[in-house]
Every structure is written in C-alpha cells, then in structure tokens.
Symmetry: C2
C-alpha cells in the first residue's frame, strides 16, 4: 500500500490506470467538441478541428465515438449535465413549492446562460437540428436520463398538492419542459446583449411579461383543478 512504484505490478491496477487515461482523453475530446459545436453548429464543426484542438488525431475521434453524430451525442449529454436539476434549488426556494421553484430557475436562466453558454448552445442545437436518427437518440437519452429531473420535479409538485394528479404525468412533464424551453427562448430574445447568443431568434418585438404569461398558462394547465363545489 506504499505509494510510489506500482506496488506489485498487479494487472488489475494497470488496467484501471489505462482505463482512467482513456476516460480522461474521452472527456477532453468531449469538452473540446462541446466548444466547437457551440461555436460553429453541427454542420459547421469539422471532426479534424476537434481532433486538433483536443490534441489527438482524427482517427481517434472515430475510434472513440464512431461517427460525428456519436461525438455530438456525447457533447450533448455532457452539456445537459452541466445544468442543475430542478430539485437542486436551495432548500428555502424548494420550501416555496413547485411554481416558486420554477420561477426561481427562470429568473436564474440569464446568469446560467452567461456562465455556461457552450452547454446552452449545444443543447439548443440538439433540440432543433440533426437528422432524425440523431434526434431519436437524443429523445431516448432525455427520457431515460432525465438530466434536469423534470419527472422528479413534477412528482414533487404532485406530492405537495400543487400539481394535478387526475391525468398521466407524461403529458405534464412534456408541458413543463416545453414551457421552460419557450421561456428560455423569450429570455434569450429579450437579453439586452444580443451578442453571444444572437442570430437564432430575430428581434420579433418581445413584450416584457411573456415569461409570466407562459408560466400562467402552465399554471392553469397543470395546477390542481379547483373542486367543482367550492
């Protein structure tokens, strides 16, 4: 157990180290790919440029990820993990309930975007553009991994009695995701500095308060219906 030379040349130890190096390299490539995709889009990103920036050869990229689509998928997954889950909000906020938490995250979106614009852009690209095959893989991943924890979040709202339980959760989850995305669109379009994230939504005049309206729509849709008697 003395640190220094590999203690007794155990095969397992060596293998583990090599596995570690693999993973590190994979992670490095993924990180670089995220930057590249964010900067140039899916079509605009060159496998060779990623290889160069990551300090490996083009062949290695395909060795690790199989194809450009595979590389993007990895970058996309990494990007989604760069954002927190709904229920990671501070306890004080969570105590305020489902809609308070939702509002909290929406208010923090501009800051999060600025702090992590590459992941944000990659997620955007993944949501909107790719061939159907890739799109399908992304959907599958989102459903299986649920990286934002939307499902847990909705169930949290249901447990607190804020979110209706008279219909399936799936449509509700889908609607929450959609609302959040639309609000992000609005926020991006409204942001005072259109430099970084520009050229997606042209400046159709965005009325302030749009976010609130989307949230209101969501609330009407998924809050527990008032009991008919009253």
């Amino acid at each position: 157990m003395i640190p220094g030379q590999p203690a007794q040349g155990d095969a397992t130890r060596a293998l583990a180290r090599s596995r570690d190096r693999q993973l590190a390299k994979r992670a490095k490539i993924t990180a670089v790919a995220m930057e590249e995709f964010a900067a140039h889009g899916y079509e605009g990103t060159r496998a060779e440029a990623v290889a160069l920036a990551a300090g490996v050869s083009k062949g290695a990229i395909f060795g690790y990820f199989g194809s450009k689509a595979g590389l993007f998928l990895a970058a996309y997954q990494a990007a989604t993990l760069a954002f927190g889950r709904y229920l990671d909000a501070p306890p004080g906020i969570l105590a305020g309930g489902f809609f308070a938490t939702l509002t909290y995250w929406l208010e923090h979106t501009p800051g999060l975007m600025r702090q992590a614009w590459a992941p944000y852009r990659v997620v955007l690209i993944g949501s909107y553009c790719s061939d159907l095959g890739l799109k399908r893989e992304i959907d599958t991943y989102m459903r299986r991994a649920d990286p934002y924890g939307t499902a847990d979040f909705v169930r949290f709202g249901q447990r607190r009695g804020e979110v209706r339980t008279d219909i399936d959760v799936e449509p509700i989850i889908a609607l929450v995701d959609w609302t959040f995305d639309r609000c992000q669109d609005v926020i991006v379009a409204t942001e005072p500095d259109p430099g970084i994230l520009s050229n997606l939504t042209q400046s159709a005049v965005v009325r302030p308060g749009s976010v609130e309206q989307f949230v209101q729509l969501l609330r009407s849709a998924i809050a527990v219906p008032a009991e008919p008697g009253r």
Copy 2:
C-alpha cells in the same frame, strides 16, 4: 380570343407561356423532392436522385433552388399547404366551437396522414431536423404564412368566448400548435399499422386516451377562466 394558334405572337404572351413552363417544372421538382425527403430524410436525400426522378439535371435543381436547403424549404412549404386550415372544417363542426373543431381535426388525423403521408413526413422532418439556419427560415415562414391558420383559429375561439383573452395570443397559438403536434406523435405511435410511418417513435407503450389528456391539458390552460365568485 379564338383558342388555337397563339393569336398574334405577342411578346407578353410568349413570356407568360415561358413563365408557366418554369413554374410547372418548379412544381414538378418540388413534388418529387417532397417524396424523396419523405422517403429518405434530409441527409439521406441526394440532389441527383431528385433531379433524375424529376427528369431534369442536377444543375437545374441548384438553378431553381440555390441549394439543398432551399430545395427542402420549397418542399416543406408545399407540404404545409397540402393540409387544410383549422377553419376549413365543415360548418356543422365549426358551429360546435373551438374545442369541437380541434377534436374533429385530431380524429381525422390518421386518415389525413394515410392519404398524404409524404407531406406529413416532410413537415415532421422540418420541425425537428435541419441546421439552425434552415430552422430559422422555416420558423419565419410558419409565422408569416401560418399555413394551418392557427392564429385565425384561436381568435375564432376567443370571439366565441371559449378561449381566454386575458393574456397575449402568441403563447396561446404556440401552445395550440404544440398540443396538436404532440397529439399527432401519439397517434402515429398508436396507429395499428406501424409500417409506413415507423422508426421515428419507438413503441414506448402509449396509453390510449393520451390524446384526450393532451386536449384536457390544453383546455385547462386556455379556456376562459371561471369567474372567481360563482
């Protein structure tokens, strides 16, 4: 005015005829492109294959449409026009109001899809996959042309007092579009014969009644809120 030979060889007449031929060829190419895109997806479609099937040369395609993206955009626009507008429902249905009309169209979706599966697939492809630039053009087109008349439809609902007017129309329109899309997804996944439209949504078990649940969600969201007193 006697039909037969071109009356008196007028320049205008000749120009008009040539313009007509142009348009006819353009339409032909667009129609063929729609089939090809529907069958093979965006990436999978070869400009040369379209040219061959349309009986023109590859150069002509680029002459008419500038690029593959331009060709797709044309096919996409043609595809959206192949579907009716919401308010084109039979008068008897329209008399039943907003939600009745919505339900009518949803019930007719399977039939429409079978009868016009190429336009349907192309619209699907356009909604989900393309590079950001193309996506943006598609969004612009949808907002400007509103080929399904969703905006008119929502205002129709508002005029009838069925749809709330206390928030902007834009979020409502967006939500109606989204709901319709999701319902279509569900219907496609539920269809007994998964042959034609298969391999997009894998058979995640779809509970019957999902469509109704989405509509219920929509109704809760956008119906006029019950007055607080009651």
